[in-house]
């Protein structure tokens, strides 16, 4: 193996709005295989958080178990991290956001972690529109346990062990769309130009933001016949709606043709311009997103970009009408109703 590990130290970039430099967003040195797609995604997360001027400690990163789920160690070392159990990160994230609505939540998972053991939780976290970014580093296999097919492995693809996959893949984008996730995107680990703005957009989205990132496993799933190899993906990528993230401070100078784009105002006030031309897709049209997705699947295309975004959807906190103060900051004064109230209750049981 002669790959060289990507290291996230770059020629010193300037400090961002909150005074952090890019290296402040990095993590421990990766112990993944040299060349693993997951490391590129970690790099994109670092870049996105840096560019968005997120204070690292105001973000919490959560994952399940797998090579992919190890990555939170490799980015944002000033953020609290939680490597939970296999497939159950969504529930832990749900509890965490309930306890403190004021942090940003970045969930990272694998295709084994989310599409197999974690399928139930994946479905239900979408249903609850939890305010978090949820990235699946999708390599079509179980990396950490040495290369078994995952439920996203393509029908007929050949695993490292040489056996052929009998089953149709579960398409996580299709699932998320079917379940009305309020933000659905797909990208490719090797395409930072697309991935970084998508992550920024996701971080700015109020509600559940799902990004399925194809991320080749160089060790176990980079074989001929596998449709999740680098080569295959590069040859089959299609962009439905490439997002271009522009922080508010800067003026929008890119020259899109009038009428051809949708400008969405993000949660933090910055704006996003989506190109409708490339793919002719309006990401606020749910039925259209479903249609384009299903047609692409039928045609064997891999669509990347932003499929759908609903900025009007209500987050779990809104649905639950919870108080502005994070629940974890409440004290006895707000939590404990007192002996007088208790005596009233006693009275009703006499």
């Amino acid at each position: 193996m002669s790959y060289v590990k990507p290291v996230f130290s770059h020629p010193e970039l300037p400090a961002n709005k909150v005074g952090y430099r890019k290296r402040d967003y990095e993590g421990a040195i990766s112990t993944l295989c040299a060349g693993c797609g997951h490391d590129s995604i970690s790099g994109a997360i670092v870049q996105a958080c840096y560019e968005l001027s997120i204070e690292p400690h105001r973000l919490a990163k959560l994952s399940g178990i797998g090579c992919s789920s190890k990555t939170p160690t490799y980015f944002l070392s000033n953020s609290h991290g939680f490597n939970t159990v296999h497939g159950r990160m969504p529930s832990v994230a749900t509890g965490a956001t309930m306890a403190n609505k004021d942090l940003l939540y970045m969930g990272v998972s694998g295709d084994g972690d989310s599409a197999s053991i974690g399928m139930g939780q994946f479905v239900h976290v979408i249903r609850r529109n939890l305010n978090m970014v949820y990235i699946v580093m999708n390599n079509g296999c179980y990396g950490l346990t040495k290369g078994q097919d995952s439920a996203t492995a393509d029908f007929g693809s050949i695993s490292k062990g040489g056996s052929q996959n009998h089953f149709h893949p579960i398409d996580l984008v299709g699932m998320a769309l079917e379940l009305r996730a309020s933000f659905v995107a797909r990208s490719f680990s090797g395409d930072k130009k697309q991935l970084v703005p998508l992550i920024k957009l996701a971080l700015s989205h109020p509600g559940f933001a799902f990004i399925d990132v194809l991320s080749p496993c160089v060790t176990f799933n980079n074989n001929v016949g596998s449709t999740k190899s680098y080569e295959y993906i590069r040859d089959h990528m299609e962009y439905p709606a490439p997002p271009d993230y522009v922080p508010k401070a800067k003026e929008i100078t890119v020259d899109y043709e009038a009428g051809s784009g949708t400008t969405v105002t993000l949660h933090d006030g910055s704006t996003l311009r989506l190109d409708k031309l490339a793919g002719d897709h309006d990401p606020t049209d749910h039925l259209a997103a479903l249609r384009r997705h299903h047609e692409a699947v039928a045609n064997g295309e891999i669509l990347t970009g932003l499929f759908y975004m609903n900025q009007e959807s209500q987050t779990l906190h809104q649905l639950f009408n919870t108080i502005e103060t994070p629940l974890n900051a409440l004290t006895e004064r707000e939590l404990m109703p007192g002996q007088t109230a208790l005596e009233k209750i006693n009275q009703s049981f006499r």
């Binding site: 400690h57 959560l62 509890g95 306890a99 239900h124 639950f320 707000e334 007192g338 006499r350």
Partner: protein, 610 residues
Amino acid sequence: MSDASSRVNDFVIRFANVNGTGSASANGLFAKAIYRMGIPVTPKNIFPSNIQGLPTWYEVRVSEKGYLGRSGIVDFVVAVNPQSLEEDIASVRPGGYFLYDSSKPLHRVMMRDDIHFLGIPMMTLAMKNFTQPREQQLLKNIIYVGALAALLDMDMDVLRGIVAQTFKSKEKLIGPNNLALSIGYNYSKENFKCPLDIRVETRDLIGDRILMEGNLASALGAIYGGASVMAWYPITPSTSVASAFEKYCKRLRKDPDTNQNRYAVIQAEDELAAIGMVIGASWNGARAFTATSGPGVSLMSEFIGLAYFAELPAVIVNVQRGGPSTGMPTRTQQADLISSAYASHGDTKHIMLIPSTPTECFEMTAEALDLADRFQTVVFVMSDLDLGMNDHLTPALKWDDARSYDRGKVYTSEDLENMEKFGRYLDVDGDGIPYRTLPGTHPTKGSYFTRGTSRDEYARYTEKGDAYVRNVDRLVKKWQTAKSWMPKPEHLGNENQNNLGIIFFGTTYYAALEAMEMLQDEGISIDALRLKSFPFPEEVQSFIDNHDEVFVIEQNRDAQMRTLLINELNVSPSKLIPILHYDGMPIPATDICTKIVAHLSVNALRNDSL
């Protein structure tokens, strides 16, 4: 066992109904009236695992002496369920009473010579007096309560008072209910010699006690204890913990200005998710809990191990039911002790608090939240179906408004600022409990990575054997520390050192107290200890050491508490005699008494023959 003379305020009455027919409120009315007449009362629901159309019973013990356990003997049956008639007739003790709906005549062959049959044409009366079928159905039940008022000499004003209170907001129902009461009352007066020898008399024996379910009390305990996140999945018999929590939060936990919630209740998609949510919330510094029963705990096992090993607070109210598997979902047992105490793979141990009364459900659920934060670990509140879903006469709930929550060892931003280096799993104080930080506390200090894998004192992943051993040995030290924080066991009965002792816990409480009196009557003096927790405080060890023979009374087949005692205290098994009851019904005092006496006489025989 009640004899003729003592039947004033000393009997068991059993209502045999069909579920889904609205009998619960009529039966509750009866029990509440006894309570209001100042007489100790213990009602128990015996219900099927279905929604409508199957037999259900409501067994009410009335006891001047204050016995609150199940007696096991039925003096009086009110039978309005044709399906269970045969069984119900058979259940009455010789000399007892059988009140039935005589709208249809009883089959001759069913009659017994040794009990009294009292027929009242309840349905006929209801149809004559009320028009709507639904009304007839519901008020037929009130008619038998009226009949009982006459037969047992109950205070009609008390009954009418409860009716008035119950229908405060639906006033037009008060009239018909009172009418039904009178119909039953008058019919009895006219047709039977009232009152019977079994009857009640007003007393003042209640004191400051209330009549409350354990699950409701647990829910209140969670509210007072500061839980702000609850995640749960419906399962009998724990469901009402969640519904009560939500109901009282709606009243007590709204922001007065914005009407926004100071709590969140999430009905999870299953138990794995429920405990995951609790762990996530606790990790993030909110007090969180779940309520479940056996199958739920089994499903939570993996996550429980994570909380143990990653050291995260989590409170689980385990309302035990009959196991194994789906088992007897509407019956009671204490059979989840081992599966809770040692839940999850690998070397794990978890704290359990074991309430015996709704009041303790309240206190211990609140305390569990403190202990979970203090020890950064899982704390079970081991309730059961009998305690959780039945009303119990229990001391009024109290809360010291000056009490503050023990949030355990959590570093603040200032602490971190003044610190060289934060080590999440360092044993700073030598008590095995490390300090934690909450996400978001400090920009550059205090962040760490929580995980279920082994790691060193600074939360760095490691596969090094010595770091692993240091860590798990510290967990043992923490466990030792926990012992002295547990509620002390309750010492009851005589201080007869070096002789007989009994140990019991949870809902065996009242039956055991009654059994002790029974034994005393037979000349057997016995010393008793009620356990309240696992791990066991020092007092448990010395109690066992100080007695030659100790009976351990449990409501399970495999003597699970005895296993825990032997294993944790290095007690010789021969010293601990299991007294077991596991048919799913609450343990009766007679059962305990008989088994202890049998053991003692066998032993006496053995000694004689030496």
